[in-house]
Symmetry: D2
């Protein structure tokens, strides 16, 4: 262990994932995990998978100096406390939406404005598949939103290869698990109400649309549905390229983008039970599965992508980005292979 790390907001779901990942990461020692609500209690009292871990929550007001501070706080908290975070650590990796967009205008438009707009140019959007070059040397990294990550990973090769140029209709229909709502949700998140739903939420105007559009410079028609899983985000992107494209073309396009990526695998047809990207198959891992199919009758390409929203879509992406930023092996601390079989992930 060569670096110290702290987790601010460690009693939440993604905070717990950060503690899990960092506590078994070969390069990190977790020296602090904060929670105002659970201060002085063991981390395992909230995250039962970590009951064996000898670590207690501490108050978020006394941040110890560390090499890397990971912030897993609700929207708005990081922008309010970012100066303290940066005082405590050389590198801040933020999991909230506070530093994902590039300008104050975008925060005016999609959120409620921004407290520290000067930092927006400095911050780097984490997703290493798209921003690997910008990460080394960064001192403020913003992990992407889960739904946005699922969509971006699926669509990026089409934009990179010019199959799409931004003028086409792009429909992104996402299915997500209940962990997206965070710990302690209200009545709508109670087990009797939430189980078994196919519930549209923010069917239009979802804030993650902004992140996708920021990457591709075009408008996307985004809708999300809550389905009966806990972890996982699966994006189905329906796109209509101007020029016809064949399946083997798509294989070429996606291999070009992803063949050397340590956390992306292509799954598009073939035999067996799992012929397309499947959230279950990546639950608990930092992997993204991406697949595609051509619909010649409708001049459509359908792209499927599946991630664990708390891993590739949040805490895993954060650790991956930190690995890249600090020059570690990219897979350090992220080598869990996932389970089979496994239930609603």
């Amino acid at each position: 262990m060569t670096h110290t790390a702290s987790v601010v907001g460690a009693s939440g779901f993604t905070g717990g994932e950060l503690v899990r990942l960092l506590s078994s990461h070969p390069e990190f020692e977790v020296t602090q995990a904060t929670s105002r609500e659970y201060a002085n209690r063991t981390v395992g009292s909230v995250h039962p998978n970590l009951r064996a871990l000898d670590l207690r929550f501490s108050e978020p007001d006394d941040l110890e100096p560390v090499d890397v501070l990971f912030a897993a706080t609700p929207h708005g908290v990081s922008m309010a406390h970012v100066d303290g975070f940066r005082e405590a650590a050389d590198l801040v990796v933020d999991l909230s939406a506070d530093f994902r967009l590039g300008s104050e205008e975008e925060y005016e438009k999609w959120y409620d404005g921004h407290d520290r707009p000067a930092l927006l140019e400095e911050s780097v959007y984490a997703l290493p598949e798209l921003h690997r070059e910008e990460l080394p040397g960064a001192n403020l990294i913003a992990a992407g939103g889960c739904n946005a990550t699922a969509a971006i990973v699926g669509l990026a090769p089409l934009f990179d290869a010019g199959v799409l140029d931004g003028s086409e209709h792009v429909v992104v229909d996402v299915k997500v698990g209940s962990s997206e709502g965070g710990a302690g949700g209200g009545n709508a998140s109670s087990h009797p109400e939430r189980s078994g739903v196919v519930r549209p939420y923010a069917p239009t105007g979802h804030r993650h649309e902004a992140e996708i559009e920021a990457e591709f410079g075009c408008s996307v028609s985004f809708s999300a549905h809550a389905v009966d899983m806990i972890r996982g985000a699966a994006a189905t992107c329906h796109v209509f390229p101007d020029e016809p494209v064949g399946k083997s073309d798509l294989w070429g396009v996606y291999r070009e983008s992803y063949e050397d990526e340590p956390f992306v695998r292509l799954v598009a047809g073939g035999s067996g039970v799992y012929r397309y990207p499947e959230p279950k198959a990546v639950a608990g891992t930092n992997d993204a599965e991406v697949g595609f199919e051509v619909d010649p009758r409708n001049e459509r390409v359908v792209v499927f992508s599946a991630i664990d929203n708390m891993m590739k879509g949040s805490a895993g992406q954060a650790v991956h980005a930190a690995n890249v930023a600090l020059g570690f092996d990219e897979r350090a601390g992220l080598d869990f292979q996932g389970l089979h079989p496994v239930g609603a992930p």
Copy 2:
């Protein structure tokens, strides 16, 4: 009870639903339920909810004369046995795909051709919301496909009102339960593999596309996903009208189509946990929920619809159509209100 009815293929899932509905229908007496595999065993030995019913499966080769024969057999069986069905009954209501499309050409294109093409003109597509006028006097009725029904019920008002004219991109992204695969599915349908999935299947070229296109005379981009429920089909339709349309316009359009429909209710926003159509809310019933939202940024309309695939999407639609055809109260035998709370339906 004024009419006799039989169910051919009664050991399957939709066959069981037919027996359930007809056995408590005020106008029907179920005199025969056939199953080759389970002949002579009680209906309740296969369908545990019907354990109190005093009825045994009989061989399908000895059809008794009845007023109405409901066929819930796999694709291809009804077209092979339709003459026998019609000999046994004045009215045949078929739940398979065998008599849904209008011409032999369509069966060549989407299926493996047709044995009795002459009957295709005679058969009536059941969905009463669209075909109420054609049902009285029909003697061959084809209940619609579940996914197709979900999509058609959602989109029909937009076509009727001219919001769509068939030239636009229409994306239909469906989420369905495991009962669609029928009883006794293979490895992919086993509980450990099937639980918790968001599994694309027939992501392009799904046969229900043909039914939707037959109703609207235009091409639709259809993809289906298996999610973790047993009953239910939820369709999300993403459409791009040429002319801008507002939410209040849509309320007008949908009320115009559905305000007098006994089995359609509009759910579009408002307060509470269930703000949009939800399969859980209609599980076990013949109801369809339909809702919509406008996305001005993308000049998009999103339409949500939710049905129980075995009820409104199959057996319930069949009974509803028979009610209309025979002049019964439309809600006869279909007045179950559904449950709350309820799990994965």
Copy 3:
């Protein structure tokens, strides 16, 4: 409709079930459904299955006179308001624990005492299979607890037939759904935490033990586990009769008790998928399934019973008891047959 009925506490889960049952009951008209929190909103805004019902919640302080008042309020509320209830209605059916036990001493021991102990002798424990004779003419009826009902229905025939005399070890191991926790549960009931659990709760000293012991006059070792369903209570009773008993003896014992019962069916072995009592098979119904097996190696009898905790275990039992009390057909309003297949009920 010959009688008026009101539901106090109608926004809760069992309150919603009461409204559902009574609104389609041939003898009842629901004239009032109260909810302090949701007053003036439609019943369907809380219970989505009842969206078509033309009924709004009213304040609980203005009770209209009715023939029967059903109270579905939390423990302690009914005993505080029972005089008002009785002023408003000739018959009060209470779904809480407030009038289930027979004496103030028991309430001191198991609860926090009782406000109106004089009424405890007057009140009748609803379960018609055991108390049918006491119900006609009653004016205060206490519907049994769900777990207690499951256990009592399973064990009663053994006590009635003298297979057990109360001196033996009786272990009752119950598995229940999340609806038992009621609407709006806290963090432990949130979907991410509650899904997929096998969670012991009140592993010893559960209050329903008191009800079971009141019926049989003996001590029972009761433990409950929350499992991943919404509706349902399944009791496994492990008992050790002093005298050896065979399976055919048990068939005799259970048939003697239940062969004429409209809501109990025996399921003990046989073929098919559902060979023993199964909560799924009775979800939404007022039925109880009861089965048993002999374990000669351990001189044990295992009894299985399954009910829908909100129906036979609460609202359904209440309506059933009212039917008996008022001389209606016992199955009036309770004839839903349940569904197959169906998910986590």
Copy 4:
């Protein structure tokens, strides 16, 4: 990697777990994974979590020499092929029931006899918490049954400390996931039928009873229930000690047995959502959680234990035993911490 290993029967669920564990184990290199059905296909085509693994199934008839052969074949196969296994490897670890019991008589009584009874004395029951001393030097190890392991881990301290002496009633009520049925189950295991059940199976005379009795030398009343999870076995043991015992006594008893065990943790009350052993909390790990409660009213002790049936209850136990047998770090290859939150495991 210091040792070679092969997995026979690698396309099954526990076979897949073995490949997963061994392929990331610091001391093992997996050189062969056999499957008759899937020979020549990639391991990842069956186990989607292993899609990145460069390994193909080979025919089981050509076993390569290895240091350790792990057999994950159905009951009866290992006893038929054990000579070939032992020819191929110095150490054979068998996951089936074929070498768990101690004598031919027991196999006559509980199974269908035994082909190679001479080996029964030689084989060591894996569970390291009870048999750590016998494992070094063993060349035939039998991993315990999942349900038996859950029960044994829960009860062993009570027998060791003399709280139980074998003359008392011991009720073991187990709740298990669908992975116990293995891959490719039939109709009863299909998603629509299996979801949401509380299904008693082998309610008496379950074969795992034999294993539990072999450890403790007494009779246990065992019943298992299939509930809606994929992984996991939770045992609730209801026992009636002759002498009264208090909760602090039990803490002493269990700490004495388990305080140095790397894979057992005690969870008995306290605060938070997860106050007792919970299968979700150990899913994917080799950990066992054990807890207890005293019921003075009934002179009962209730013991709860929770494991992942495929890990601690099978493949994980096998690797743990091999680690002990070969002198590796006990936690080698078994350090995954599990996830939170996570769905039906």
